[in-house]
């Protein structure tokens, strides 16, 4: 039987799954499951051990009313994505590629639902299970006791009910999959099953998110009414949504306008400008009120993160590109230069930061201060300085900018990443066909024009990739700041991720820290999408 074609396919499948099993289990446990789990934690008050369910309260604490608005939009986006995938599903069906589309879709529907049921069961089980270590603490921890507790938690009534439902769903899904596999082997098209499963999951999850948001808003309104205050969440939601929608509209109009014909272009651009202005005004007017109850330290953290990103990413990319371009010229010792530039990137941050602490020390003999003295400027306190660069230069408040200590961290961070950027730019330059440069040179183009009109456009995928990675990196930056911050500067250098880690390690606020981590995640995702749309268009894949 094993020598038949079917037998060989079966064996190949089995071997592949055995090969994948260890990695798959670990990724499930430490890659996928944590996301759902973190979300679950973020809906609870949770200090080391699970406490009561608090709904969106953690998000409200972090972002004020914007927390609700965020979830509302998340639900809407989920619905939109489900609609998009679902539409594609029906389109494919019309083309008639699959033999049994209805059955395949049913299989997908049921397996998607079963997956959600499994999630439901899991989240009913988790709080019970997480409590076991606390229950057996103090007692002699034996396997028997542990297993007994584990068994007890599995057989709790609501866990049991959810578990049974999940089992039925999973069995049904497996049955249909089996039928499809055995009876209609040729006709089954996997994408239909997967797409319909994804659509189901998205649909139910976003409806759930919307319902959760609305009920939470209602609850917040009710409690506000009781204490006699008015809480304009709904109007804020409408206005902020309108503001965002107008901004998006402005973007679309601009895109059209640039492509449009001469006389329509002006009208479109003017319209886009108007939409932008109105949307921006609404957001500016409404955002402060909606963010009034937000965590100021978190908002400051986001602001510091943004300053940190704008201060490091362009500089490190520009210098990296310059070095790579020079290295790409026919020179000697290229391997040596490449090797040396890479050293700051691979050495432990903890070790190199110590040198930077000395260079930017507050003492008058510190190298940085010596250089300032040579130029005739007073010594600065550098990593101990919490005043912003703007106030040190005597600029008005709105030009304050980052604290001087943060600037030191930016310099350090740039120093560590330049070599990495240069190496990747160098690889990108190597992929550009040499004939193009040659042809341009024959046509009489100067070095700069070749760089501007041939090298740079052909290098744009690399630039895009590096800037994406760098911006995401700065939003996650932790080590550089953690080790270079001093007690004297307080929270002036705490980026969002450092603040979150502080909340976790020093205050043990697991639930709150999780919710903030999710907000950060949402921001990173949003930025990635945005960057993909805006920059992706200008990328030229020669």
């Amino acid at each position: 039987m094993l020598n038949t074609r079917r037998g060989r396919i079966l064996i190949e499948n089995l071997t592949a799954y055995i090969f994948l099993a260890p990695a798959g289990c670990l990724i499930l446990l430490f890659g996928l499951f944590p996301v759902a789990f973190a979300f679950f934690v973020s809906l609870h008050r949770w200090r080391r051990f699970p406490d009561e369910y608090v709904g969106l309260a953690n998000y409200e604490k972090a972002l004020g009313n914007v927390g609700y608005i965020l979830f509302f939009w998340l639900g809407l986006l989920g619905l939109a994505a489900a609609a998009k995938i679902g539409k594609r599903l029906f389109k494919r069906q019309e083309q008639g590629t699959a033999g049994r589309p209805a059955l395949a879709m049913l299989a997908g529907l049921i397996s998607g639902y079963a997956a959600l049921l499994a999630l439901d069961w899991f989240f009913k089980l988790i709080p019970v299970i997480m409590l076991i270590p606390r229950q057996v603490r103090g007692q002699h921890t034996s396997l028997a006791l542990f297993m007994e507790k584990l068994g007890e938690s599995f057989s709790q009534p609501d866990v049991l009910a959810a578990g049974n439902l999940m089992l039925i769903g999973l069995l049904l899904a497996a049955l249909i999959a089996l039928v499809l596999l055995l009876r209609f082997r040729q006709e089954i098209s996997g994408p239909i099953v997967i797409n319909s499963a994804v659509t189901t999951v998205l649909l139910i999850a976003s409806v759930f998110s919307l319902r959760l948001t609305i009920s939470e808003i209602e609850a917040a309104l009710a409690s506000a009414r009781e204490s006699g205050e008015s809480l304009p969440i709904w109007s804020q939601l409408v206005f902020i949504s309108a503001g965002i929608a107008l901004m998006a509209l402005a973007y679309v109009i601009f895109q059209r306008g640039i492509k449009a014909h001469e006389n329509r272009r002006f009208a479109l651009l003017a319209l886009g400008g108007l939409a932008l202005a109105v949307g921006g005004y609404i957001l500016m007017a409404e955002a402060p009120a909606a963010l009034a109850a937000a965590d100021d330290d978190l908002l400051a953290g986001f602001w510091i993160t943004i300053m940190y990103a704008t201060g490091t990413v362009p500089v490190q990319l520009a210098i990296g590109l310059l070095l790579a371009y020079l290295l790409f010229q026919p020179i000697r010792f290229r391997a040596f230069f490449r090797m040396v530039y890479f050293i700051p990137y691979i050495t432990p941050f903890v070790a190199t930061s110590i040198v930077f602490r000395v260079i930017f020390d507050a003492g008058q003999y510190a190298p940085a201060n010596r250089m300032l003295t040579i130029v005739g400027i007073e010594p600065q306190r550098w990593i101990l300085e919490r005043s912003s660069i703007g106030s040190l230069l005597g600029l008005p408040d709105f030009l304050a900018g980052p604290a001087l200590a943060l600037i030191v961290i930016m310099i350090y961070s740039t120093w560590t990443y330049i070599g990495y950027d240069a190496v990747i730019f160098l690889a990108g330059l190597g992929n550009i066909p040499g004939e193009l440069n040659e042809a341009a040179r024959i046509d009489g183009a100067s070095g700069w024009r070749i760089f501007r009109h041939i090298t740079l456009p052909l290098l744009s995928p690399t630039v895009f990739f590096l800037s994406l990675v760098a911006i995401i990196g700065t939003f996650q930056a932790f080590t550089q700041i953690w080790i270079l911050r001093t007690g004297a500067v307080g929270s002036k250098v705490n980026t969002a991720s450092v603040y979150i880690f502080d909340q976790l390690q020093n205050s043990n606020r697991y639930g709150y820290a999780s919710s903030m981590a999710f907000v950060l995640f949402a921001l990173i995702l949003l930025m990635t999408l945005f960057q993909n749309r805006i920059m992706g268009r200008r990328v030229f894949y020669g």
């Binding site: 190949e12 592949a16 994948l20 996301v35 973190a38 290295l327 700051p344 995702l525």
Partner: protein, 325 residues
């Protein structure tokens, strides 16, 4: 052979052109070299001063001298001891003087152990997975690969808390299974197992396994070898370069790790060197800077050695895939 070519006289008139272009080249070349060497100075200057300062007296460091008056080698011995980097205890039998046991402890030893476990575990887990994705046909391959890749997008800070809770809980389970040695928290499993299944490693290996010619597989199959045999006998010996990249990256990653070890260790039994150095520095600020420098040099040296050995494959591996630590 090449020497013969050099002896051939250049065509007439070529000399003038060549010298003119050489002159122009020289000028631009000089400026290129100037910029590149300035870059070298910025890149390694801090390291050179770190080494120099590690031999100074404290007052010399505080005055930021460039070079020490005399080399104080004992700084290293003091730093090793004070920072608890390495402590070797030899127990000898009092009667015969024979060596009974060797007790090694300290952050360096911890980091070496952690690195070995996590690199070996990662290879064991990632190689078969990458092979399956690259060279086998099975149901749901693309979907599973997309799921694997999607986990790379999730920022570390989101995973931190669930990882911590999972590790605590799994630790409890295995503690009651295997006794205190099976603990996860403040023990090697928490520091290594979550990083075994690195999607990046799987991706890197898969890209490489793709390029292995199909003919080799056909030949192996005719000889009666199955997938496991082919993987071990043919694919692995061909894949030294990516495996070297993974080893180097794994080494650097676990040598530099700070955030996660800070969370899951509570004493020095398994704390890796980055945490140890960080504690040493923060515990005695402003403290003995020369000793801190010596400790930093000690931390950096193993990484640099490995880097110099493997740097070619390593930089190329990075350039091909692009990662960021």
């Amino acid at each position: 052979m090449d020497r013969d070519g050099a002896g051939i006289p250049k065509p007439a008139g070529g000399g003038l052109n060549a010298s003119a272009s050489r002159e122009r080249l020289n000028l631009s070349k000089i400026s290129i070299y100037a910029v590149l060497f300035a870059g070298v100075l910025i890149a390694v200057g801090p390291f050179l001063w770190m080494v120099s300062a590690s031999f100074m007296t404290l007052s010399e460091v505080n005055l930021t001298r460039l070079l020490p008056e005399e080399l104080l080698w004992e700084n290293y011995a003091t730093a090793l001891r004070r920072a608890n980097f390495l402590d070797i205890e030899l127990t000898t039998d009092p009667g015969t003087g024979a060596l009974q046991s060797v007790g090694i402890s300290g952050y360096i030893w911890n980091s070496i152990r952690i690195t070995l476990i996590s690199v070996c575990g990662s290879l064991l887990v990632c190689i078969p997975a990458a092979y399956a994705f690259a060279r086998m046909k099975f149901i749901g391959r693309n979907f599973l690969f997309a799921v694997f890749l999607s986990t790379m997008m999730i920022p570390g800070i989101v995973m931190l808390i669930p990882h911590l809770l999972t590790v605590i809980w799994l630790g409890r389970l295995s503690e009651s299974l295997f006794g205190p040695a099976g603990a996860w928290f403040n023990n090697w499993p928490a520091l290594t197992i979550p990083f075994f299944a690195s999607v990046f490693n799987i991706f890197l290996l898969r890209q490489f396994f793709f390029q292995i010619p199909e003919d080799l597989w056909d030949a192996a199959r005719i000889d009666g070898a199955g997938h496991p045999r082919f993987l071990i006998a043919v694919v692995l010996p061909l894949s030294k370069a990516p495996i070297m990249t993974i080893i180097t990256l794994g080494f650097i990653g676990s040598w530099n790790a700070l955030m996660w070890p800070l969370l899951v260790t509570i004493n020095d039994d398994w704390r890796p060197i980055a945490v140890g150095l960080s504690n040493f520095v923060t515990s005695d600020t402003p403290g003995d800077l020369n000793l801190q420098m010596a400790a930093s040099v000690i931390t950096v040296i193993p990484i640099l050695c490995l880097y110099f050995v493997a740097q070619k494959q390593f930089t190329e591996g990075i350039a091909q895939t692009g990662i960021r630590g």
